[in-house]
Symmetry: C2
Subunit: 269 residues, 2 copies
């Protein structure tokens, strides 16, 4: 897997901070019973794993990722936090090594957007899921994002990220496609809803978190790709980062983004 945001320490920090800032928005309603065997597919550095364990302390988590570097970070986190019922394994989501029906539930968050073949991955995940079990999928949609004040440079920098990810053959606007992708992969979609964040001067901490700790570092992490692919001129990119950062500084700044969260079931029999 090619990850548009790279594997730097800054990116690891962003992923942990992002998970905390968005915990209520994304994890509300997700809890697994004691003893449930849950596969977290594409766990990365374990940003979401911490929250899964916190909210389902007696479930049994098997967390897989393609990146050994990310898994090493996740294992450090496990050691520091003292997680018990979590194991980390290197697996390719497109060729999972687990036996059929190994898991009661599956959780995937911010993963399908980075895959060459999201439907193929979902079909493979269905194989290892027990009939009647659920998959919970959470994905952003970069086409949902807007802010005020909007400047040409801030738009250009943001669209640079979108195009860099598309140049990998991946879909940064995949949130809107969760229901059709899960349907195509043969699941029964039970619900799919926006999980949105809107922040203005009335919610300064949330605005600061979203703009300064998620969006700006996310766009910056893709800078090497954006400049290498000549998607945005370097001076425009720098101005765009400056303008995006200002959304959190000026009194009139506002920011909106929505993720989508779907729960789908593998049919019985």
């Amino acid at each position: 897997m090619t990850y548009v945001h790279g594997y730097s320490e800054r990116e690891t920090r962003r992923l942990y901070e992002q998970a905390d800032i968005l915990e209520d928005i994304l994890h509300t309603g997700t809890a697994y019973p004691a003893g449930a065997r849950v596969l977290e597919a594409g766990c990365g550095v374990g940003g979401q794993t911490r929250l899964l364990v916190k909210r389902s302390p007696d479930a049994l988590f098997t967390c897989v990722d393609i990146s050994e570097k990310s898994l090493a970070t996740a294992r450090q986190l496990k050691a520091q936090a003292g997680f018990r019922q979590v194991s980390f394994h290197r697996e390719d989501i497109h060729r999972l090594g687990f036996a059929d029906q190994s898991f009661d539930h599956i959780f995937v968050c911010f993963v399908l957007e980075h895959l060459d073949d999201p439907v193929g991955a979902l079909v493979g995940l269905k194989r290892v899921l027990a009939p009647g079990g659920t998959i919970t999928a959470i994905e952003g949609d970069h086409g949902s994002c807007f802010w005020h004040p909007e400047t040409p440079a801030s738009l250009a920098a943001w669209n640079g990220l979108i195009h860099a990810q598309r140049n990998f053959g991946h879909d940064p606007n995949i949130g809107r496609r969760l229901t059709p992708l899960l349907t195509e992969a043969g699941y029964d979609v039970q619900r799919c809803q926006p999980a949105w964040l809107y922040a203005d001067r009335l919610k300064p901490a949330l605005r600061d978190g979203m703009v300064d700790h998620i969006i700006v570092p996310m766009v910056q992490s893709a800078e090497p790709r954006i400049l290498r692919d000549h998607l945005v001129a370097e001076d425009v990119f720098e101005q765009g980062i400056h303008d995006l950062s200002r959304v959190d500084v000026v009194d009139e700044g506002t920011f909106f983004y929505t993720w989508f969260k779907a729960v789908a079931m593998k049919r019985q029999g």
Copy 2:
């Protein structure tokens, strides 16, 4: 006021259907006590007026608009529906004829996006509002809108509407600016939240309502302006309308839009 969607019978029907489809999304939480004097500024053909009266049957509504033609339609609606405590008056929202502090509450919906000077209008509305009274403002944000499948022609037709409205000097993406505009006009903003609609194959009636009864006729209503201003070539526009309509036809179609709803108070003293 120049209204990008025009004053046709089809547009009147769209406004009534739109109001019904979006009633729960937009009107939940808005109710006025018996005897409250409420100004609806920019009532148009009375699409929202019906819902205001239904939800606050004992409030006293004064509804104003700049268009005599729209007011005539609204008065027919009043006669047919047997509204009692509603009166319709021709007023320019930028130069209201009412005495200071004439109203306990103000309601504006889908109006600021069509004005040359939204802050000036909000300041004028504040003059006729009693101290401690509230203004409820609801506005869409066309920049929030996305769908699947997204085609170049459907994007071009949609962006044609946005640019036609901007060519009037109006802001079709004003939803994201509600908090800063109300703040600039001197109100205390109490809350401002997205009021979103997302529909896919799991909600076919809502998807049909949003795509076929709101969005497609809304873009079509602006066709004369879009073509006159050469914003989109005619064949591309027709293809775009076709492609937008298909979102409601194909199994994989999804649609998202968000309005913003703010409640702000005029300070005491």
